[in-house]
């Protein structure tokens, strides 16, 4: 899954478009979602899905799978929202169901805005946006190193797991716990080995205390997209205002 998202974020049609625009757009949509009626939220969700699937060409199958897995949390909480203890028995709560339905639309809408951002924007660009937004340098450095070694350690863990299975490991509960523990300890060992290697490697390249990123490079967002954002945003806002004036609840 992780490699999938990472690969898509680099290989989609919008990957080189301005990350600042994309972040701003997704953030604006999430804010609007919080302030608007379900009908507007549904419209936002569809619009963001269109950006991701149609404009960025993220495969619809993968998109839906991710949307589904993202909604698992909602499914898990659904019983708690929809059921009430009343007079010592469980019962469906009318208002709970109503809350759940409203919540679902909002959460799905926010999720689709998030998915737009993470499926179309490479991590490195997000770092640069954070840098431009003046996130602490130390935090950025930690994140850089973490991201750099994430995939490496995931690969190592996967190989170790495969090797254990190839030798008959991960049989029952006890063996799985013990094998996982051995793997984690060994992985920690490798992690510290990586750290030592990295500190030598960086020292040889003149590391003197900080890891500096390239400054944010402004990138373009084609006019056609900017127009759509402006027009679509105005439409949604208008829609919301109409609903409010109409007193619709």
């Amino acid at each position: 899954m992780i490699r999938l998202i990472d690969t898509l974020s680099h290989g989609n049609r919008l990957s080189s478009a301005s990350p600042l625009w994309k972040c701003g757009f997704a953030a604006a949509m999430i804010v609007l979602a919080y302030a608007s009626h379900p009908a507007v939220q549904a419209a936002i969700a569809l619009w963001m899905a269109a950006w991701t699937v149609v404009y960025a060409r993220v495969p619809a199958r993968i998109y839906l799978a991710m949307l589904g897995s993202g909604c698992l949390f909602f499914v898990a909480s659904l019983p708690a929202l929809a059921v009430d203890f009343r007079h010592g028995a469980l019962a469906l709560s009318e208002s709970g169901l109503h809350t759940a339905a409203r919540l679902f639309v909002r959460a799905a809408c926010c999720l689709s805005a998030m998915l737009f951002l993470i499926l179309t924007t490479p991590m490195l660009r997000l770092f640069q946006v954070l840098q431009k937004l003046r996130a602490p340098q130390l935090l950025l450095e930690l994140m850089l190193v973490t991201y750099r070694f994430l995939f490496l350690l995931l690969d190592t863990a996967r190989m170790m797991h495969t090797a254990q299975r190839a030798r008959g490991g991960h049989g029952g509960f006890k063996s799985r716990i013990a094998d996982t523990a051995a793997l984690a300890a060994r992985l920690f060992d490798r992690t510290m080995h990586r750290y030592r290697g990295l500190s030598h490697g960086l020292a040889s390249r003149g590391f003197a205390g900080d890891i500096r990123l390239a400054p944010y490079e402004p990138a373009a967002l084609p006019l056609r997209y900017r127009l759509e954002i402006a027009l679509g945003g105005a439409l949604l806002l208008g829609f919301e205002i109409m609903l409010r004036i109409g007193g619709y609840e």
């Binding site: 490699r3 999938l4 690969t7 898509l8 190592t156 190989m159 170790m160 495969t162 090797a163 254990q164 299975r165 190839a166 030798r167 008959g168 490991g169 049989g171 063996s175 094998d179 051995a182 793997l183 060994r186 060992d189 490798r190």
Partner: protein, 276 residues
């Protein structure tokens, strides 16, 4: 020629990656041979091995063990992995436990053997492979060559019928390489079929008695070393190099070569030039 393991039109694509890692691979590993599986980095060798022990499952096509399609239920996989031993490229991934002896026992313990038998079998293989001095040392004190030998010992202790090795000789100096290859020859003599993936054509040429060449997830060539390497242009078209010894031999004046098959080792080469 009976195949101990074969694949029929196997296709596999890693999730999220555009290209197929195996794109219609059909190949056979002949029983009782020393097989070299050659190809450039990324030709699909490692993916093939993961299919051979049922860790990966083909998207389409079939993997067969002794003529029978491999099953993917728990019991069949267990049985398959007892018969097929896989030695990974990087022993760091394979050696999990703290000392060679413990690590060698790991697979035996997973077989559910009694402790006494585990100890007995581990001791025997430690003895046989000359690891006695190392058996109690912490794994991270061993050299790469030693680690590779320990990884091999851990797999041989399970007495596989087919032994697969991924880039077994990479990163080794010549002495460690020789020790390892001698171990493989020995296993082969005891009836184990040995298949080694390598991109070192010199090793493939001098060690194997059957060569498979893979390219872009397919089997491009198969046959005895002389036959495969005599198709020089095809080999080069695949971006592979001919074995040095083979090239040198071909460069020699015709009259010196007359009557000899191209020698596969330096000793054979010297003998061919200086007949006693």
């Amino acid at each position: 020629m009976k195949a101990i393991m074969e694949t029929e039109d196997v296709r596999y694509r890693y999730p999220g990656i555009g290209e197929e890692a195996l794109s219609g691979l059909s190949m056979q590993i002949p029983e009782g041979r020393k097989v070299a599986i050659c190809g450039a980095n990324g030709c699909g060798k490692s993916t093939l091995f993961l299919h051979a022990i049922g860790i990966l499952r083909p998207t389409s096509g079939r993997v067969k063990w002794r003529g029978q399609p491999v099953g993917y239920d728990r019991a069949s996989l267990g049985a398959l992995r007892r018969r097929v031993g896989l030695v990974f490229q990087d022993p760091e991934h394979q050696l999990i436990l703290n000392t060679p002896r413990e690590d060698i026992s790991y697979g035996l313990r997973n077989l559910g053997l009694a402790e006494a038998e585990i100890r007995e079998r581990a001791d025997r293989i430690v003895e046989k492979m000359g690891l006695a001095d190392l058996a109690g040392l912490p794994t991270h004190h061993l050299s790469l060559g030693q680690k590779k030998r320990v990884a091999l010992a851990g797999v041989l202790a399970l007495k596989p019928e087919l032994l697969l090795l991924d880039e077994a000789t990479a990163y080794l100096d010549r002495r460690s390489e020789r020790a390892l290859l001698a171990e493989l020859d020995d296993a082969c003599r005891r009836g184990v079929t040995v298949a080694m993936a390598t991109h070192d054509m010199n090793v493939a040429y001098s060690w194997a008695d059957w060569v498979l060449v893979m390219d872009k997830g397919r089997c491009a060539m198969a046959g005895p070393p002389h036959e495969v390497f005599s198709r020089e242009e095809e080999i080069q078209a695949l971006g592979l190099e001919l074995p040095l010894l083979y090239e040198v031999w071909k460069a020699m004046p015709e009259e010196l070569r007359a009557g000899f098959e191209s020698p596969r080792s330096l000793e054979a080469f010297k003998e061919a030039l200086n007949p006693v």
